[in-house]
Amino acid sequence: MRRSTRLADTTAGALAGLASIRRLTTGRRTGARPPGSWEVVTVDRPPGEVLPGGRWPEPLRRLAPAIQVEIRQAPGGRGTELAARIRPGATLPGLAAHLAGDDPGRVVRTALWQAKQLTETGEVLRADRSRTDRGPAG
């Protein structure tokens, strides 16, 4: 109804706004990067805690074997640089592929953010329940 149309309009409008910011700041047309690009986050923990026993942290593990993961020590005692990318020619498994749309790098980026957050805080921060999954007020 009214609410869902408004929401859709808002999202589309805001994304249009953000896309033009992107043009303004970088001259690029969209936020998507070429396939095979590395995405990186810095995790404020030593490498042994980022890949304990050499095992990838969740949710990166779920994206195997479509991705490559690398780590290296961050400068200045800032922990570990954790990098991942989709293997050239590989496709993301199941739901991830569905969510990726035309920007698979985004899925990798989100997975990296969540892996970092899990390692640093022990949890992935959840948003408040959205209006759409709340249903009408009781």
């Binding site: 609410r3 408004r6 929401l7 309009d9 808002t10 999202t11 409008g13 805001a14 249009a16 706004g17 953000l18 033009s20 910011i21 992107r22 303004l24 700041t25 936020g31 810095t42 404020d44 800032r78 922990g79 985004r106 989100t110 953010w113 970092k116 957050q117 640093e120 805080t121 022990g122 949890e123 992935v124 921060l125 959840r126 948003a127 408040d128 329940r129 959205s130 209006r131 709340r134 007020a137 009781g138």
Partner: protein
């Protein structure tokens, strides 16, 4: 529960919404006793923030009582009286551990939007749209507080609710502005804006040893309040040429530190969504003026909450005069405990800033008074416990 929701451009209303629930192990639920209006909310009210949606609960400054804690919460128990930092920080990332919780890497469950807009994800804040985390705000009966051990602070018994409320945002913002400005013994500090944040910046500058603090605002009531509650002198731009006056009062040097605490107040013009983030750039006169008058090699601190782009910024003066420009929100976790101690010792008094106390039901009226600065309103404070009038 009842909550003050944004419903449309310029429109807010109290509605029944579902109670918040624990979503993470580090969450607590707080029953709100008081919440305050803030200049940072006005662009939201005016519909100038992208992603804001019908039904979003507003309010980022609040205090109350802990009623539920998640299994990972260690520092709080049910019944604690707490003030909650307006920003959501994890306490465990490099930024938090280096004393910069406003730059927290983990306080935003939807980092994509701010990464696209600002180049990096910014942390969450209460009562803000998705780009800033999308956490429901404190103009409500209950609020979910993520990372409660980091974001919520026990209020010392000697400190009243009326005073502690300002430790949520305005006092730490003012303190950080003075700190980042490098205020020290002998400094001369000019502050544009005599709202709560401007006054608390002036007070912080005085406490850090400033020799002269000069507050600029076009409202008599606010200037009077600033003179009474801080050691500041004042300038009314309606009756004075501010740059000339500041030059004269600083021996021709210009202030060492210039703080812009005006912000993008509501100009009453609703804008299209694309405008809100792009074309219609702000042209903040106080930012321009502060860059122009700041002494060579001085520091300009921008406290106003600008969401997107600013136009006609005097970049030439920044280079030619070797200025430092600092951006600020507030590093709650770094400053709230010491500010509460100062409040307990009576060194920092803030309750006079709450000029209007209203039941939550009168939220729309309170925001209108605050927005239009009518009836001497510096801050409206809402309480869900006050009975609705009439």
């Amino acid at each position: 529960m009842r909550a003050l929701c944004w419903t449309d451009t310029g429109q807010i209303a109290v509605r029944q919404v579902p109670d918040p629930e624990l979503r993470n192990g580090h969450d607590a639920i707080v029953r709100v006793r008081q919440s305050a209006t803030c200049g940072g909310d006005l662009p939201l009210l005016a519909g100038r923030a992208p992603y804001l949606a019908d039904g979003d609960v507003l309010g980022h400054e609040f205090l109350g009582e802990v009623v539920t804690v998640g299994p990972q919460v260690r520092r709080h128990r049910v019944g604690d009286r707490v003030v909650v930092s307006s920003t959501v920080a994890c306490g465990s990332c490099w930024q938090c551990r280096s004393g910069a919780p406003w730059c927290c890497d983990n306080g935003n469950p939807a980092p994509e939007a701010s990464e696209l807009a600002y180049g990096h994800p910014v942390p969450g804040a209460f009562g803000r749209p998705t780009a800033t985390g999308g956490f429901a705000g404190g103009h409500a009966e209950y609020v979910r507080v993520p990372y409660a051990d980091v974001g919520a602070y026990r209020i010392p018994d000697q400190v009243s609710d009326d005073r502690a409320l300002f430790a949520a945002d305005a006092a730490p913002a003012g303190w950080l502005a003075a700190e980042l400005g490098g205020v020290r013994t002998g400094s001369v500090v000019a502050v544009w804006g005599a709202g709560a944040v401007g006054q608390l910046t002036a007070r912080a500058a005085g406490m850090l040893g400033a020799d002269r603090v000069i507050v600029i605002d076009p409202r008599d009531d606010r200037l009077r309040m600033a003179r009474r509650h801080t050691d500041a002198e004042t300038i009314d731009p309606r009756h004075a040429d501010v740059p000339a006056e500041l030059r004269e009062r600083t021996g021709g040097r210009g202030p060492d530190v210039c703080v812009e605490a005006v912000g993008p107040a509501w100009d009453g013009r609703p804008r299209s969504l694309a405008d809100r983030f792009t074309d219609a750039a702000e042209r903040p006169p106080a930012v321009r003026e502060s860059v122009h008058v700041c002494r060579k090699g001085g520091t300009v601190v921008v406290l106003g909450e600008y969401a997107g782009y600013v136009d006609t910024f005097p970049l030439g003066a920044v280079g030619a005069k070797g200025l430092r420009v600092r951006g600020v929100r507030q590093h709650g976790a770094r400053h709230v405990p010491t500010l509460l101690e100062r409040m307990a010792r009576d060194e920092l008094r803030t309750e006079h800033l709450a000029t209007h106390r209203l039941p939550l039901e009168e939220g729309a009226r309170g925001y209108a008074l605050f927005r239009d600065r009518r009836d001497g309103c510096v801050r409206a404070v809402f309480s869900p416990d006050l009975p609705p009038a009439g």
